[in-house]
Symmetry: C2
Subunit: 253 residues, 2 copies
């Protein structure tokens, strides 16, 4: 059976570890983390370590640590010619130390320890420096999810920046919505069905067809009224996004 060592106890590492512990295709033989306390809860389920020199001999090493340390930690894995993969959206496959076979195993989802996720729907974006290693990663990925894509480092960079727009920035807009509700004593819960429907709508409509609202309608009187209700920072965002929608639909303020 394929033996896997996972490095990293952050959000991605946490969820992937828990998934791999229940995986029947591979065997998770060890988890590494810089601070042992963070992974102590695993000690009855697999080997744990905080010493990179104590890593066990495995077939695949999955690095789930901060982007900035991927090159460094991959260079410290003492075994040669192992399949080493990272899980980062924005790091090139070539940052993995060159004494190893290289791959990428990018789970395109937002992970928080507080929320359990259905792994079977998480897109896994694969890349490998050889066809045979891509096959090995495909077997591993298919044992986790039904949503597998072959994605180059260049494409993955694009996906990562797109994900910043549809996830990080979208969540920030939710937070501004929440702020406006709090300032005006309205429960934020009133907006939650709208938030969910906005996300679900693009399963059947292209976002460009799903767009509604005063910016698209060029309803300047509503736009002006809205601006009077916002803080300076909120108004700056409102103005820029309104302008961008207007430009998309060929209308001018």
């Amino acid at each position: 059976m394929v033996k896997v060592v996972l490095l990293g106890g952050g959000n991605v590492g946490y969820h992937l570890t828990n998934n791999l512990l229940n995986n029947t295709t591979i065997q998770l033989i060890q988890v590494y983390n810089r601070s042992i306390e963070k992974i102590e809860y695993l000690k009855t389920k697999t080997t744990i370590t905080n010493k990179i020199e104590d890593l066990l001999d495995a077939d695949i090493y999955i690095i789930c640590i901060s982007d900035n340390y991927i090159a460094e930690i991959s260079a410290k894995i003492k075994f040669k010619n192992k399949l080493i993969v990272h899980t980062s959206g924005s790091v090139s496959i070539n940052e993995i130390n060159s004494t190893h076979r290289k791959g990428v195993f990018y789970l395109l989802q937002t992970f928080s320890k507080e929320r359990n996720l259905d792994f079977s729907t998480i897109p896994i974006c694969l890349e490998a420096s050889s066809k045979s290693d891509l096959e090995i990663l495909t077997v591993l990925a298919k044992s986790i999810s039904n949503n597998i894509y072959n994605i180059s480092s260049e494409q993955r960079k694009a996906l990562h920046v797109a994900a910043v727009f549809v996830n990080n920035f979208v969540n920030h807009l939710y937070q501004i919505g929440n702020q406006i509700c709090e300032t005006n004593n309205v429960p934020f819960n009133v907006l939650k069905p709208l938030i969910l429907e906005t996300a679900q709508k693009i399963n059947t409509l292209n976002p460009i067809d799903a767009q509604t609202g005063p910016a698209k309608r060029n309803d300047t009187s509503t736009i002006d009224k809205h601006k009077t209700m916002l803080t300076i920072q909120q108004k700056e965002i409102y103005t820029l996004l309104t302008k961008s929608i207007q430009q998309t639909y060929g209308k001018k303020l």
Copy 2:
């Protein structure tokens, strides 16, 4: 049985009409629209008209037309002392002509003709100029949805601007994500599970706690790399929203 006339054949009017036709608490006796063609599909189910002077005598008139014409059309309803409600997020209750009893029946959701919606979860924000009329509207609203709120005109204005952020602007960010994918030959579908999870996450986490990404982490090297991949307009939005997230979490670029 309470008799209702609905005015307007746009997205909200279309969905509300179809819902009210199956409602057993009230009777939808007529639908009005400026262009009769748009509502001809209703002629086997209820009375239809495009002449405001032909409106039937009803208990409640629901105005689902453009914000700018609500005052005008309410003034043209020939019967006196009727309960007239509009369904707009941004128009004050007082724009309804003063010869009538007034109310607001605001369905806080995004409507497209192409998508069917589960009305039982749609928040309905009610307002009325008298307690007895609020009771009438509450009975009507409860026959449609389980999500009823009493919301003043001031609060409704705030909700409407918040809805622009969490719906219109969010959809525009989806569209930018889609654009970035197209430019880089990546299927936009890869991002859809992330989009859905981002929306669902705030059911259990406050948006301020759900925030992740390079802006929050102050990961300037990733931020700089991302900016090189964007168009001028995308970069302007990226920069402003990144700055806003940094300010929210007390970090400086």
